[in-house]
Amino acid sequence: MQEADILFLEDSFKKYYFNHFDLIKVPERTSEREFGYQKFNSGMTRHISIKDDKELHLMLMQNIPSDVYCSNAYYAFPNLPMNEKDWKEADLIFDIDAKDLNLSCRDSHTVSICNECNDVSKNSSKCLKCNSSKIEKKSLPCKYCIDASKIEVEKLSQILTDDLAIIKENIQVFFSGNEGFHVYVYNSQFQEIGSRERSELTDYLSLRGAIPETFGMKKLKHDRAAFPDFDDKGWLGRFSKQVFGSKSKRSKIITELLANGYSSFQKTLDNVSGNIGVKIDPNVTMDIHRIFRLPGSINSKSGLTKIQCDDLLKFDPYTEASFLSDDTVEVIANCPIQFVLKNKKFGPYIDEKVTIPIFAAVYMICKKLARIA
């Protein structure tokens, strides 16, 4: 990214931080958390300890970071090197990202940026100009991406409360600032479990690794009574609803499943898992030393804010998470895909000079699809 772009982004971010201290609050048990930040074109600074909102705001104004992070883990000494921090526990965090949902719309709003010649084209595996395979892909998620991610959040919340007895008040949902949502779970029985246990928990939520026997299908000695019922709790009930469709079809479908055999059942199960399992990124949940984007901070991949969603169904990130200025700026935009921000349509732009609001300019510059003129 060129110097002028960095200066412009820093200036826009600084104004946001200065005007929106109300949105950026330290989480509970602040002094036990590790904080970190990144500046534009620079590495990560972490192992920082912060004691209150004032200190955080000072850090933001002094450094104007591109991204700000905070641990979900609680440590005795958060500012010491990792192996001396003395890990105590960590909130559970789930990352739901539109890019992991294999959505059919994705191709239509993904662009390819060549690392060699900077040419921008619609989604392709090689640069159309210089044929290089060193391609960076950027997606401009659409409404459908966000809606699909919301469905996954809903599925996740339901299983967390129904199966794992998590109290609703202890679940918080945040728009990540780019392509998805972060779901936080506080004060649960899982606070102290380690990384591998968290990975196993994600397998449960994703219905990954299920075997036919769990759902009543045995290799030998078929037993119709072992198949689950509609009223069963947990995955058994959800499986029944998905596979049998209605109570009246249960018997007929069990006969079919038995006739098709064990391996076919495993395939059915894998398909069901793809449909009703929650699509979460297991690597995020299992990392118990990770620092996560701080709620209220800007995501430098988009210029949008990571913000809590009180009413998920109605939440629209492209109006509710865009807080940057409406003042205009002149940029050279090379964005072959149209996008909507604050209810205004922008693009497509083919290497052209345009005057647009700062919030839209930041969005494109963050995605490497524009530069300051």
Binding site: N115, I135, E200
Partner: protein
């Protein structure tokens, strides 16, 4: 602390009460080497150990607690004496095998006690043992035992059979529902670990005159059982080959795949400088970042921790596993190509 009678101690001789019981009976260890009346206890202890080295579980003559006091005492003493014999032999292999066999034996008793629907005191005792030793709160409801999901995860995480995955368990209201046998199976390893730590922490007494032959015999059994591994092939496992192929083609290998490849090669003794060029075809290759990350994984920079190669199970969940028949019975890519001598 549980107050236990001899019938419970005979079943669970690794509990605190057993050592106290021996002290109360006032037998000095030396007496076991010379007293003909105690020979049967020595024989029983040896038998108990021998069976464990053969992978079996010692079968008690006491069935369902029906036995005389002296038979129960013999049962308890033979366990304690077996520990003394292991200590005298100095063979760590015997510790592991004996602890595992004894854990399996206790497991059978716990399972029976938990399954005794009519005998509430037996169930309560088993539940108390599980709570006191392993801090797992088990609640009996109908024919099931309910334990918190977090406790289940902590204890089942090392099980490799897929039926133990949480997704293959009945989960309800934050609890996992288990049958008595599964409840007990869950703590098998911990029982083994608990018994192992009991043996490891026990002091080694001086040689007991009269028991030298038995001890020597156990030492040779232990030596024969010590495994030695040898590498029979220098081939990389399929997951590593796949990762290298992806990189050679200039395609994107996910972060988890890069982590696997780097930690694998580091563990195989390659240096950061040898590994770094492998990544040069990656679409987002940056030499400075690659070296920084490799140094971090090798423990040369950062916290100093050297990261280890992920397990096969982990790699399966990350879609990085491409198992072939030669991968059978390994749980980490690093074990690929190794064979027991």
């Amino acid at each position: 602390m549980l107050e236990l009678g001899t019938d419970e101690l005979a079943k669970y001789p690794f509990l605190e009460g057993a050592g106290k019981f021996l002290k109360e009976k006032g037998f000095p260890l030396s007496q076991f080497g010379t007293d003909p009346d105690l020979k049967s206890v020595v024989d029983k202890a040896y038998h108990r150990l021998k069976v464990s080295t053969e992978g079996g579980i010692y079968k008690s003559e006491i069935i369902d607690g029906e036995a005389s006091d002296s038979a129960r005492e013999k049962e308890i003493f033979s366990f304690l004496l077996a520990i003394v014999l292991i200590k005298l032999s100095g063979m760590h292999t015997l510790v592991k095998r004996f602890a595992l066999a004894e854990a399996r034996r206790a497991e059978n008793h716990l399972e029976k006690d938990l399954g005794k629907a009519s005998d509430k005191s037996k169930i309560d005792l088993a539940i108390r043992i599980i709570y006191d030793l392993f801090n797992i709160e088990v609640i009996k409801e109908d024919e099931f035992f309910k334990i918190p999901v977090s406790d289940y995860l902590k204890h089942s995480i090392d099980f490799h059979e897929r039926e133990w995955k949480l997704v293959n368990r009945h989960v309800e209201n934050g609890k996992v529902l288990l049958t008595p046998d599964k409840t007990v199976r869950l703590i098998r390893k911990e029982l083994g670990t608990y018994i192992t730590s009991k043996i490891t922490n026990a002091p080694t007494p001086p040689m007991i005159p009269g028991l030298e032959n038995i001890v020597n015999e156990l030492t040779s059994i232990g030596k024969a059982l010590t495994p030695s591994y040898t590498v029979i092939t220098g081939e990389h496992p399929p997951c590593i080959k796949h990762a290298i192929e992806i990189l050679e083609k200039g395609e994107n290998l996910p972060h988890s795949g890069r982590f696997m490849l780097a930690t694998f090669l580091l563990s195989k003794g390659q240096t950061v400088q040898q590994i770094a060029p492998l990544f040069k075809n990656a679409p987002d290759y940056n030499l400075r970042v690659t070296l920084y990350q490799l140094n971090h994984l090798a423990g040369i920079s950062g916290s100093g921790t050297q990261y280890s190669c992920p397990s096969c199970e982990k790699l399966k969940t990350q879609s990085l596993c491409f198992a072939i028949p030669e991968c059978d019975n390994i749980i980490n890519p690093l074990q690929f190509g190794r064979k027991k001598k």
